[in-house]
Every structure is written in structure tokens, then in C-alpha cells.
């Protein structure tokens, strides 16, 4: 067990290391990083000063060390546009992203789990076909298109919902649905396949043989086990949602992290872009680690296997 935990943590550290090396190298290999780190139109002597200040005149491994240690001290640089530390900006926007992700996740589970169960209980039936179509659309339609069509219908024609910005629950509905649909499709598919697997197991047959009503067999006995993988995926996806909402947040002008990334790209504000990517990647690596460790604690088969 200790060995498993140690190795799993080692893998995650390795992933974080690879992530930092990738970002570090890409910035330097593809051109002079000064063009990204200095505001456009800076004077040549200022650029030289900055080059020295950032240590870019030093050997590569020293530069890497400076790059990594700056993360540990929480110094991710200053935004060119807002003239404040990027970390401060990030934490200003984080609550909005969390709110959007939470509502989108709730929507995706409310849609995904029941439709997944219905599809599994009547394979090949109406709900199965409906669910398949719903999932296919959710995974195929570009989010920005779903978002724009929603705006066109609910804001422009009906005038029911505000098209952009943040505020009350009305502002949240369309972005949360747009973001949630994609994940609802994933949750629906997983619920269906996991439910089908559980329904084929011995203890369900026994429950049926005992003469339990079907609703109880499915709603109580099967559901409990079928939901375990779904809850796990939902946990990971919540973190993923925070980090991939850039398109949705741009369409609806929702002031979250994705919007911050978009602004960073548009204003050529490189420290902001780097900050969002580094924190996002680290977050996902950490949540994967957490899930693996929890699984190992709950299920001895996993830790014995490897």
C-alpha cells in the first residue's frame, strides 16, 4: 500500500515536472521569450534590463530553476494589461468559474443519470434511442454554436434571458446548460454502461428471485453500485469544467478563468495565459492522483494489481 502510494505520487510529480518542462521549452524554443514577456513597443534598453531581471541571459538550466522556483513562491508575474499580479487576477475570477462549473455539473447529473438509467433499463427502447441521440449531439455540437443558438432564441427572439454578463440565476442558465450538455452526454453514457454491467450481476438476479419489486431492485440495489464510477467521473469532470469553459465563458461574457484566458490571448498578456495553463494542468494532475489514491484505499484489488 505504502509502495503504491509512493509510486503514484512519484508519477504525479513526474507529470508536473513534464508539464513545467513542456511549457518552459515551448516558450523558449519557438522564439525569443522576451517578445512574449515584454509589452509591445518597449524600448531596447528596457528589454535588456528585463532580460537580465528574468535571468534570460543565464544558462538554460538556471533559467528553468528560476522558472520553477517562481511558482513555488507564488510569483507568477504581472499582467501587462491589468498591472496586477496574475495570481491575484486568477483568484478574483476563480469563484465565478466554480459557480458556473457547480451549476453545470448539477444540470449534467440531473439530466445524465436518470436518462442513463432509463436507457439501461429498456435497452433499444425509446429512451435508449433518445439518450443516444442526445449524447451524440452533446458530444458533436460545438459549444460556441449551442451557446449562440440559445442566445438567438432565448435572448433575441423571446427576450427571456440576458445574453451575457453575470448577476442572478438568469445569467447562469444558458452558460451552465451549454457547458453541462457535453458532460451530461458523458455522464449518461457511463451511467448506462455501468448500470447494464450491474444489472447482469448475481446479486441483482438474487434480488429479483426474492421477488423484490423491479423499482426497488433498480432504484436501491443496482443504483448504489452503478453510480460509483459516475460519481468518480463527475468529481474529475468538475475540475475539468473549471478549466475548459473558455469557449462558453467567451460566448456569454462570463467573468471566469476561461474568460481570463481569452482576454490574455487577445491582449497578448502572456503571464496571464501561462498562469491559467500551469494552474489548470496542475489541478487536473492532482485530482487524478487524488482519485487513484482514494480508489486504492477503497478497493484493495487496484493496489495489489500494480
Amino acid at each position: 500500500m505504502k509502495q503504491f502510494i509512493a509510486r503514484r505520487i512519484g508519477y504525479s510529480l513526474l507529470s508536473l515536472f513534464l508539464l513545467s518542462v513542456t511549457i518552459f521549452l515551448f516558450v523558449r524554443v519557438t522564439g525569443d521569450p522576451m517578445t512574449l514577456l515584454v509589452e509591445p513597443g518597449a524600448r531596447p534598453e528596457d528589454i535588456e534590463n528585463m532580460r537580465h531581471q528574468f535571468g534570460l541571459d543565464q544558462p538554460l538550466w538556471v533559467q528553468y530553476w528560476l522558472f520553477v522556483s517562481s511558482f513555488f513562491t507564488g510569483d507568477l508575474g504581472q499582467s501587462f494589461y491589468y498591472r496586477t499580479p496574475v495570481l491575484e487576477l486568477y483568484f478574483q475570477r476563480l469563484p465565478n468559474s466554480l459557480l458556473l462549473a457547480a451549476v453545470a455539473m448539477a444540470l449534467s447529473l440531473v439530466i445524465g443519470i436518470p436518462s442513463g438509467i432509463l436507457a439501461a433499463v429498456r435497452v433499444g427502447g425509446f429512451w435508449d434511442g433518445f439518450g443516444k441521440t442526445f449524447a451524440l449531439l452533446g458530444l458533436s455540437l460545438p459549444q460556441f454554436w449551442v451557446g449562440l443558438v440559445l442566445i438567438l432564441f432565448f435572448s433575441v427572439y423571446l427576450g427571456w434571458l440576458p445574453s451575457s454578463g453575470s448577476g442572478g440565476i438568469a445569467h447562469l442558465l444558458m452558460p451552465a446548460f451549454t457547458l453541462g450538455w457535453y458532460f451530461a452526454a458523458a455522464h449518461m453514457r457511463l451511467t448506462r454502461s455501468s448500470m447494464l454491467e450491474v444489472l447482469g450481476s448475481e446479486y441483482i438476479k438474487l434480488a429479483r428471485l426474492k421477488g423484490l419489486p423491479e423499482a426497488l431492485v433498480i432504484g436501491k440495489h443496482a443504483l448504489k453500485n452503478a453510480l460509483i464510477p459516475v460519481i468518480t467521473l463527475a468529481g474529475i469532470n468538475l475540475v475539468v469544467m473549471i478549466n475548459v469553459a473558455v469557449v462558453v465563458e467567451t460566448v456569454f461574457a462570463w467573468p471566469g478563468i476561461g474568460r481570463l484566458l481569452y482576454e490574455g490571448v487577445t491582449f497578448r498578456d502572456f503571464p496571464v495565459v501561462q498562469c491559467v495553463v500551469v494552474i489548470g494542468g496542475s489541478m487536473i494532475i492532482l485530482v487524478n492522483l487524488l482519485v487513484d489514491l482514494l480508489y486504492a484505499i477503497i478497493d484493495p484489488r487496484i493496489r495489489l494489481e500494480s
Binding site: Y11, L14, S15, L18, L19, T22, I23, F26, V27, T30, G31, V123, G124, L136, L137, L139, S140, L141, P142, Q143, F144, W145, L148, V149, I151, L152, V156, S163, A185, A186, R189, L190, R192, S193, L196, L233, I236, N237, V240, N243, V244, V246, V247, T250, L261, Y262, G264, V265, T266, R268, F270, V273, Q274, V276, V277, G280, G281, I284, I285, N288
Partner: protein, 301 residues
């Protein structure tokens, strides 16, 4: 991250191995409409120069924001209307098909090439090579693809070539995973062992014996990835870090059209959106069908 289950009839259709090649071309469940749509888009992309009534990049400000022909104020001169600088929407859609096809197909080829190569090498050689390749794959899989693509695009700047390189550089991981796991089981098969006994070099075995056996999976995955790649390209263009203007890319057209949405210029966003949707849906339906037909192992993907 997504899990698909095999349709129930899959077991039944795969049961008769003798008639498999024959059955492949029969029309039961063959996604005819999606294939026709993809063919149509491909033809439009190839013959864009002959089909488009106007130059897609030049408009006249005198004719901006003309609605489609059937709306009041529209005319047959611009069937699907004009955009904010008076360019013909239909012509831009036609040339946009070319951009989507070129970027989509090349990016899938690049990703497939890198991923298949790494998957074969890592699966067959094993040892530290395998460890290194798989750790890198895991790390790249952990990164949110779109965010990472935006980051890369922000560094190298937007251009069609860069987008292809970025998409190829991001999506190879799935091929590497799938191909590697196939190679692991192929390695144990008789014909590979015999090749080793016969004295074939490692590179010859990988090229002549392993590669032909993983091509099926790679093709299925490529079809499924086509949709993902096209959506990502459109999203990048939509965010302004993809295909640079004034090139007519569908995602870019929607970004331009977004500004006119609130005043009711719906045709600028709805038409390119329908094009993207049709292409991606068709690619996904074809991919799903191929997966069930060609490669039972990928059904769990």
C-alpha cells in the same frame, strides 16, 4: 473521459467471421447519409473555385448585412446573404469547407502518424522506452486539450500551418494509448514470435508485421478524431487564435457573426454553425459504425 457501450446488435453482426468482408459493404446500418454529406463537403472543398459565386475575401461595404434571398430585403444575388463587410456568405461557406477539410484531415494524419509510431515503438520495445513514452502520454492526456491548444497558439501565433501542427501535437496521445495496447497483445502472437526466430530485425518486425495489424484501429480512431479536431479548430478560430482572418474558416465566420447576433443578423452565425454540425456529426456517425464493424476492441473506447 467518455465511455461508450456497444450497441446490442454488435455481438450478432460480429458472430459470422466468414462473411465479414462481404457484410462490411452491405447496407445494413451503413451510415449512408453521413457518408454522402462528407463526400459532398469534400467535393465542395475541391471544386470551391468553380462553385463559389464571389471572391470569399473581398466584399463591398455598400452591400453589407444583406439577409438571405428568402427574407425581405434579400436578393438572389446573395443566396445566403452578406456579412459585416459585404462578403458573400455562401462563397465563404464554400471556401470554408476547404479550410476545414485541409486542417481536419492533415491534423488527423499528423496526430495519427506520431501516435501510431510512438505506440508501436513503446509497445514493442517495452522497458524504459515504454516508460518514457507512456509518462509523457499521461501528462499530455491530463492537460485540458483546448486550453493547451490556446496556450500553444498564443506562443506561435495563428496560421493554418501552426494550427495543424498544434492539433497534431495534442491529439496523438489517444493513438499512442490504443496502438500500444494492441501491440502488447500482438507481440505474444505466433507470427511475431516466428518472425523473431526467423531472424527479423526489430525495425522490420515493427514495420512489416506489427504496423499492418494496427492500421485498422488507427483508421477507426482517425475517423472519430476528425470530428474532435474540426470542433477544436473551429473553437480556436472562434477565439481568434486559429485560422487568421480574412481566410474563410467556419469558426471565424461565427466569431464575426456574433457581433451582429443581438441586432438579428442570424444568418451569419446559423449557417456556418450548421456546416460544422453536419460535418462533425457525419464524421462521428461514420466513426461509430466503423468502430463496430472493423474493430471490436475499440468498442469500449
Amino acid at each position: 473521459m467518455t465511455v461508450t457501450t456497444p450497441p446490442l446488435d454488435a455481438a450478432a453482426t460480429a458472430a459470422a467471421p466468414a462473411g465479414r468482408t462481404y457484410k462490411l459493404w452491405r447496407l445494413n446500418g451503413f451510415p449512408l447519409i453521413p457518408v454522402l454529406i462528407l463526400l459532398f463537403i469534400a467535393l465542395v472543398a475541391i471544386f470551391a473555385d468553380f462553385l463559389a459565386p464571389y471572391d470569399p475575401q473581398i466584399g463591398s461595404l455598400a452591400r453589407r448585412f444583406r439577409p438571405p434571398a428568402w427574407e425581405t430585403g434579400g436578393s438572389m444575388a446573395h443566396l445566403l446573404g452578406t456579412d459585416h463587410v459585404g462578403r458573400d456568405v455562401l462563397s465563404r461557406l464554400i471556401f470554408g469547407a476547404r479550410v476545414s477539410m485541409i486542417v481536419g484531415l492533415t491534423a488527423v494524419l499528423v496526430a495519427g502518424g506520431i501516435g501510431t509510431l510512438l505506440g508501436i515503438v513503446s509497445g514493442y520495445l517495452g522497458g524504459w522506452v515504454d516508460q518514457v513514452v507512456m509518462r509523457v502520454t499521461d501528462t499530455w492526456l491530463a492537460l485540458p486539450a483546448l486550453t493547451f491548444a490556446i496556450f500553444l497558439a498564443a506562443i506561435v501565433g495563428p496560421s493554418e500551418f501552426n494550427i495543424i501542427a498544434i492539433l497534431g501535437g495534442i491529439y496523438w496521445t489517444r493513438y499512442a494509448r490504443v496502438v500500444r495496447s494492441e501491440v502488447l497483445s500482438l507481440k505474444q502472437r505466433e507470427f511475431v514470435r516466428l518472425a523473431v526466430v526467423a531472424g527479423c530485425s526489430k525495425s522490420l518486425i515493427m514495420r512489416r508485421h506489427i504496423l499492418p495489424n494496427v492500421i485498422n484501429s488507427a483508421v477507426v480512431l482517425a475517423t472519430l478524431m476528425l470530428g474532435v479536431v474540426i470542433v477544436t479548430e473551429a473553437s480556436l478560430s472562434f477565439l481568434g487564435v486559429g485560422v487568421p482572418p480574412p481566410k474563410p474558416a467556419w469558426g471565424l465566420m461565427m466569431a464575426d457573426g456574433k457581433k451582429g447576433l443581438m441586432v438579428g443578423y442570424w444568418w451569419l452565425t446559423v449557417f456556418p454553425g450548421i456546416c460544422i454540425m453536419l460535418m462533425v456529426l457525419s464524421a462521428n456517425l461514420l466513426g461509430d459504425w466503423l468502430r463496430v464493424k472493423l474493430d471490436p476492441q475499440l468498442r469500449q473506447l
